[in-house]
């Protein structure tokens, strides 16, 4: 899909200094205009109610699990694929977490790796179908969306499973108590840090480093940018494809317990249509669905735009029908504003 829409990034002067380099690693300043705008509107309309730790934590926390999905989806998009199954994978992982907790009383630190393995397993199947059977990833992951949702509903018997499990003394079991730290509103790590926010940020940082600093990261970009060139350069395109889908699944698995804790229960419908939010975050953040173009920093910004927009509109008590309208409009405006060639465009410039 279309180098046509991919505007050339401006050339960097050769003698750029360290500061500018660090900065440019996070994308052009313009990429943040949309976000800054929303922050400004939030502060202007709601002042302290908007700009305080609790509100921002709540806002980002509510989106954190989708944000984590967005990171995985970004990896897949970078290779030129798409992953529609992340919502379902999150769902089955959250169900797994709740069941491990309620049926087997596992400790949280045991639950997370298990959920990640579950997610990675289905992600691997996505990758295998895409790379080996050469099914378009849209179809493969759409099928997986359906299959996994069906399994999720089947294992749970269509009943949501709570995570606040009371022991015989009527109090929460120690495991359930600990599990709440994954994101049940009102529960913080070290009494200060809201785990979903922390987890989201850590995932972003880790994958930002992986993409920018490692061989694997280069190969991901190469596979998306020009798969033929990548193959002829000895990049194992098949392995990279399988790897990104597996990682995306793994991240969905990681987000599962967070979602379960946030809702204090695993719903058989959990995560439904999260994939659209996740993809939207990546694409608003500048990732190109044609592959080869995008950053985790961009996805992070995209996720913030989506969640803070919701928050600002909600705080301003905009009616919900109008929220839908305004949200759509602002997403368009934000995307247009952060296009690097915007100003050139308005100078009446080149149409390529």
């Amino acid at each position: 899909m279309t180098t046509k829409t991919a505007p050339p990034t401006p050339a960097k002067a050769p003698g750029e200094n360290r500061l500018r380099r660090t900065f440019s690693a996070l994308g052009a300043a313009q990429a943040y205009i949309g976000l800054v705008l929303i922050l400004a509107v939030g502060i202007a309309t709601k002042g302290d109610i908007f700009l305080n730790e609790t509100n921002l934590t709540n806002a980002v926390g509510a989106f954190a699990s989708r944000g984590i999905l967005a990171v995985g989806v970004t990896l897949v998009i970078l290779t030129g694929g798409i992953d529609l199954s992340v919502g379902s994978l999150l769902g089955i992982a959250s169900m797994t977490a709740a069941m491990m907790l309620s049926k087997h009383s596992l400790e949280p630190w045991q639950i997370v790796p298990i959920c990640m393995v579950v997610g990675a397993f289905f992600g691997f199947l996505n990758g295998a179908g895409t790379a080996w059977l050469r099914i378009q990833s849209f179809v493969m992951t759409l099928a997986m969306l359906s299959v996994v949702r069906g399994l999720d509903r089947q294992v749970s018997d269509n009943v949501s499973v709570g995570t606040q499990i009371a022991g015989p003394d009527g109090k929460l079991t120690p495991q359930a108590e600990a599990f709440q730290l994954f994101g049940t509103p009102g529960h913080n790590l070290f009494d200060r840090i809201y785990y979903p926010v922390l987890a989201f940020i850590v995932v972003c940082v880790v994958f930002h480093l992986i993409l920018t600093k490692t061989r694997f990261g280069r190969h991901v970009y190469a596979v998306g940018g020009n798969p033929t060139a990548a193959r002829l350069s000895g990049v194992n395109v098949t392995a990279i494809t399988i790897a990104v889908f597996t990682l995306s699944g793994m991240l969905a698995g990681f987000a599962g317990p967070i979602d379960a804790a946030y809702s204090a229960s695993a719903d058989p419908q959990a995560g439904q249509s999260y994939e659209l939010d996740a993809i939207a975050a990546a694409v608003i953040g500048g990732a190109s669905l044609a592959g080869g173009k995008g950053t985790i920093a961009g996805t992070f910004v995209g996720a913030l735009i989506l969640t803070l927009l919701d928050n600002v509109l909600g705080l301003n008590a905009v009616s919900d029908n109008w929220q839908l309208v305004i949200k759509g409009l602002i997403v368009v405006v934000a995307v247009v504003l952060q296009r690097p060639d915007l100003f050139k465009f308005f100078r009446g410039g080149s149409r390529s």
């Binding site: 401006p10 050339a11 600093k213 190969h219 998306g224 020009n226 033929t228 060139a229 350069s233």
Partner: protein, 497 residues
């Protein structure tokens, strides 16, 4: 390589071809478009998983079925079609597939800078490929091949986008490599290059081995390649150009684009008369492509005016230009000219569909007939007009591009490197075609990096340097290559920065 065979669906590309190369030797591979040269080399470089025959390296059988296998045996290849990742930097591209698990940016960039300098390129290793020009990309491919520890280096038309100076530098590099015992296989359609660099020339025809020579005898080689003797190479009788003025460009300026490395044009004036062939010479990045594209309505000029056939000509898009009877054979056939996934007929008829309509629908019969006629005239080697363009050999793709534009019956045809990657036989045909177009009262404006071609074909030659016309020679003046090169390097101190 012994008894190599390879079939594609519907095409037998290679049949029992053998080839040996010694250490330190440069073997040239010669053949018509579609003879199977690239296919043979792709097999050596591990592009294809299966093929017939076997490959031996250093006396032992080597099983090469992937690019990784090839690299393990010290084989590197510069592919005919550029294979770089546009969104990555030069350094990242050069080390693609061979990085350390955790990138060592400093070392990569230092080594890249060194390699680029060795090829005379002054580019930041951090520049993105999409910001580099085609010629630069070709040299980056060379740098990429050189960065490996090679025993056998395959170069598939490495010079097709290069001008003379760069070609000379490439030869120096090749000589240095052979001096160190590297075997080089070199594919080119420029016979004069083979004279200069090749120790031995191997000729293929229709996927089979025809013979080899260690002395380069032009006529004999052509006879071997084409299977028939060929007439005059540049069959242009003395120029026409007496006709009326067809295209007039006055003071045309087009802003450059810093991001994409596009050269700005500064106050270019020129004219092309009916029946005239006008050449545009210049070094890489001189703005030749830019000029042709501007005339074709691709870029918005900032100043200047044009007229065509006496009427003002202000194309707002290529569509407008085509409507006025202008055609552009663009520089990069893969990126700019062809829908690779579609058929020959689809591509060839695309700009001229308007005249193939019947009752508002495309008349498939007429389309088929028209395309077939044009394609046969240009001798495109393909199983039929419904063959996928992307599966044609490079030279045949170029011919499809020519066919496409000839079908629009243009009055002015702009050609950007029209014979790039074309075999000598076909080149002669294209030259003949240009002559006959001119003779038929059309105007031809051709940009080419091959000066002999320009000198032989053109009635006038314009020389561009940094987006400015620095000289104009007419056929009567009998210009020399040196004179043209001098004008091409007439740099001005740029004061506008």
């Amino acid at each position: 390589m012994r008894a190599i065979g390879k079939s594609f669906p519907g095409v037998r590309a290679l049949d029992g071809v053998s080839l040996t190369v010694a250490e330190g030797e440069v073997v040239a591979l010669l053949g018509e478009n579609g003879a199977g040269k690239s296919t043979l080399m792709n097999i050596l470089a591990g592009v294809f998983k299966d093929y017939e025959g076997e490959i031996e390296i250093g006396g032992r059988v080597a099983h090469i079925h992937s690019p990784k296998d090839a690299r393990r045996h010290g084989i590197a290849m510069i592919h005919q079609e550029l294979n770089l990742v546009p969104e990555l930097s030069i350094a990242d591209n050069i080390f693609l597939g061979r990085e350390r698990a955790i990138l060592d940016r400093k070392a990569m960039e230092a080594r890249t800078a060194e390699l680029l300098r060795g090829l005379g390129l002054d580019l930041s290793p951090r520049r993105l490929i999409k910001q580099c020009k085609i010629a630069e990309r070709q040299l980056i491919e060379v740098a990429k091949a050189l960065s490996q520890n090679v025993r056998v280096l395959v170069m598939d038309e490495p010079t097709s986008a290069l001008a003379d100076a760069e070609v000379q530098r490439l030869y120096a590099v090749i000589r240095d490599l052979t001096g160190r015992g590297v075997a080089v296989i070199y594919i080119s359609h420029r016979l004069e290059e083979l004279e200069e660099i090749a120790d031995r020339v191997v000729v293929l025809r229709d996927g089979t081995y025809v013979g080899e020579r260690s002395e380069v005898d032009r006529d004999e080689l052509i006879q071997m390649m084409v299977g028939r003797p060929l007439g005059e190479m540049f069959p242009r009788a003395d120029g026409g150009g007496s006709g009326v003025e067809l295209l007039k460009v006055e003071g045309l300026s087009v802003p450059g684009e810093p991001g994409s490395g596009r050269t700005p044009l500064r106050e270019v004036s020129l004219s092309v008369r009916a029946g005239e062939i006008v050449g545009v010479a210049g070094l890489m990045g001189a703005g030749r492509s830019e000029l042709l594209e501007a005339i074709f309505g691709v870029h918005r000029p900032a100043a200047g005016s044009m007229s065509l056939g006496g009427r003002p000509y202000r194309p707002r898009s290529p569509k407008g230009a085509i409507r006025r009877g202008v055609a552009l054979v663009a520089e990069d056939r893969k990126a700019q000219s062809l829908v690779l996934g579609n058929t020959i007929a689809f591509n060839a008829s695309l700009p001229s569909l308007g005249r193939l309509l019947r009752l508002g629908t495309v008349d498939a019969k007429r389309e088929q007939a028209a395309v077939e006629r044009q394609v046969n005239e240009l001798r495109v080697k393909a199983p039929g007009t419904r063959f996928t363009v992307g599966n044609l050999s490079g030279g045949n793709q170029q011919k499809v591009v020519l066919a496409k534009w000839l079908l629009t019956s243009p009055s002015l045809i702009l050609m950007d490197e029209p014979t790039r990657g074309i075999d000598v036989g076909a080149k002669a045909e294209i030259h003949a075609l240009m002559s006959s177009l001119a003779a038929g009262g059309k105007g031809v404006l051709v940009a080419s990096s091959e000066l002999p071609e320009l000198l032989a074909m053109c009635d006038r030659i314009l020389v561009l340097c940094e987006g400015r016309i620095t000289a104009e020679f007419s056929r009567g003046e009998h210009p020399t290559q040196e004179a043209i090169l001098e004008a091409a390097m007439a740099r001005q101190k740029v004061t506008t920065l």
